[in-house]
């Protein structure tokens, strides 16, 4: 694994906007898509990441099975509200399909990839990984390979959902370019799979007493939402959604995996697994430096790195009310002052590709940059 400086395509901004419709390459004036550098891997390294991703997904699915079997005690430990238990169990036992997820891995080429966290419900940086970095590779290093067949796997996954002639409504929060772009990309792949689609803002979803409605008052029967389950269930229409009146993608059982307490339960299930870091709901159970993460948090908010009981790094935010999970601290590798995290994708629970985000600090946040990769 190496970080290489590269010369950006002279017209890349106009190119990605016009050809790809990629409009959030710059966020709040700071670069987000960054092609002044790229990461180079060897084939064996990519094979290791792909294999670890497949294994982590199988462990994650086994964990859902276990949590559903244990029931109340497990949900309570994970701080999953009781209102959601039945929907989780129902969707899991019915075998409701899932579309995608992103494992954030620490990888430095010096040992096995290790799971930092699993974004199982509302992962983003998808369009960048699937399309933008592929388009960059074709322009810059056409002869090289890339761990990335996300696009065709998404199209195939939509076909397997069995939605038929029904319409899939795609919901994102209003006026957020990155979320809207991600959802519009997913809608693009669904259209290519032959599905009828509509857009609706999360805020515009209506409830007529019997079912959900879009702005034209058309019924919403299948809802793709880029909006976390734990927020949905706590909001006024949450109880309606949990009745199963609409099919939801991701399914309700993803609430078990998008919850960071899952890191502790995975470690209990497979202690010492080479792709896991020690994790527990009790800080005293972890030896050495550790990271405290809110059970529910987003985009690197409210993270603390602790050594000998002292905070050595932290990020702000408004999360943490539900409690924390503690994970052994594995320092990210550093390349020229940059700390990369591998975002390794599963589509329909199969390893599908990866994207890399790097930050100037050891905690990856929403300000991190997306940097393309290739392998030879």
């Amino acid at each position: 694994m190496e970080r290489l400086a590269t010369t950006p395509r002279p017209d890349w901004r106009a190119h990605v906007e016009r050809e790809l419709g990629f409009v959030f390459h710059t966020i709040d004036g700071a670069p987000y898509w960054d092609e002044t550098a790229c990461y180079s891997f060897g084939e064996a390294e990519i094979d290791a990441i792909e294999a670890a991703t497949g294994e982590l997904e199988q462990m994650a699915l086994a964990l859902v099975d276990r949590v559903v079997a244990v029931g109340a005690e497990a949900y309570t430990r994970m701080r999953i509200p009781e209102i959601a238990w039945q929907a989780i169990e129902g969707s899991w036992k019915a075998g409701e399909r899932n579309l995608y997820g992103r494992f954030d891995l620490r990888f430095a080429g010096d040992g096995p990839p290790q799971l930092l966290e699993y974004n199982a419900d509302t992962p983003t940086a998808l369009f960048e990984a699937a399309v933008v970095q592929w388009n960059w590779l074709e322009a810059i290093r056409h002869e090289a390979d890339q761990f990335n067949s996300i696009h065709e796997r998404l199209i195939e996954a939509w076909r397997q959902f069995g939605i038929g002639r029904g319409t899939v409504h795609f919901a994102a929060v209003r006026d957020h370019a990155e979320d809207e772009g991600t959802v519009e990309y997913l809608r693009d792949t669904a259209v290519q799979a032959g599905l009828a689609t509509q857009r609706v803002a999360v805020e515009d979803i209506g409830w007529d007493g019997k079912g959900f409605r879009d702005l034209d008052n058309a019924p919403i029967t299948t809802l793709f939402k880029l909006y976390p389950w734990e927020w949905l269930v706590a909001e006024p229409f949450g109880a309606h959604l949990l009745t199963g009146v609409a099919r939801v993608i991701e399914p309700a059982w993803k609430m078990v995996l998008s919850n960071k307490a899952a890191l502790a339960l995975l470690w209990e299930m497979a202690p010492g697994h080479p792709n896991l870091l020690p994790a527990a709901l009790d800080a005293g159970a972890i030896d050495g430096p550790l990271v405290r993460k809110p059970i529910y948090s987003r985009e690197g908010a409210n993270i603390q790195v602790l050594a000998d009981g002292r905070v050595i790094a932290e990020t702000g935010g408004g999360y943490g009310a539900e409690g924390f999970v503690y994970q052994g601290y594995a320092e990210l590798p550093q390349f020229d002052g940059n700390y990369p995290v591998i975002g390794s994708w599963v589509v329909a629970s199969q390893p599908a590709g990866m994207g890399i985000r790097e930050d100037n600090t050891a905690i990856t946040r929403d300000s991190s940059r997306f940097v393309p990769h290739f392998f030879v």
Binding site: R18, G21, V131, R174, E184, D188, R199, G206, P228, D366
Partner: protein
């Protein structure tokens, strides 16, 4: 090989812009109509309503058809549907006749390209809004005894469905809902 062999986009990028370029200029699919700023409160936030009304009023003032004689205006918009205005200097001064501003259209709420338009009462109690080429689009109707304060019945008006039951957490955190 682990990379995609080809990637095609059908909604994003240049393909979608081509489609957008040949769309019509009628009301957008998600158009919502209201007759006053008070009636707007069920559709959008107060700030969005004020902005929509102000923009529609600017369009009305700048672009509503102008007639020097009342009969000419009524021939186009119907009896009692025109009002005498004092013409601005740019309109040459004096007085002129314009259709009455009866309501507002707000649309494209989702795309970031939100816009609003004035709604006028036309012949046969139709509700009309301006199109791009100087034409009008019928967007609903008024009752036969409509007055200048009557609400019109938009063509796309639908039963009121409660909305806004999702989305409040994202608003409170002011963040992406992704991760």
């Amino acid at each position: 090989m682990k990379k995609s062999t080809s990637i095609r986009l059908v909604l994003l990028g240049s393909a979608s812009m081509l489609l957008a370029g040949c769309g019509d200029d009628g009301p957008p699919k998600d158009a919502r109509f209201f007759s006053s700023i008070e009636k707007c409160s069920s559709i959008a936030t107060e700030a969005e309503c004020r902005e929509a009304v102000a923009a529609a009023e600017r369009t009305h003032a700048a672009e509503a058809p102008r007639f020097t004689r009342k009969e000419e205006c009524e021939a186009e918009f119907g009896p009692e549907n025109c009002a005498k205005q004092t013409a601005s200097a740019s309109d040459g001064g004096g007085s002129l006749f314009m259709p009455l501003l009866m309501g507002y259209m707000m649309g494209n709420m989702l795309s970031g390209n939100r816009y609003s338009q004035p709604v006028w009462r036309g012949t046969n109690n139709q509700a009309v809004m301006p199109g791009k080429g100087g034409g009008f689009f019928g967007v609903g109707s008024f009752g036969s005894n409509a007055t200048s304060t009557s609400a019109f019945r938009p063509a796309t008006q639908v039963a009121q469905v409660p909305r806004g039951g999702f989305g409040s957490t994202a608003t409170s955190y002011r963040t992406s809902a992704g991760s």
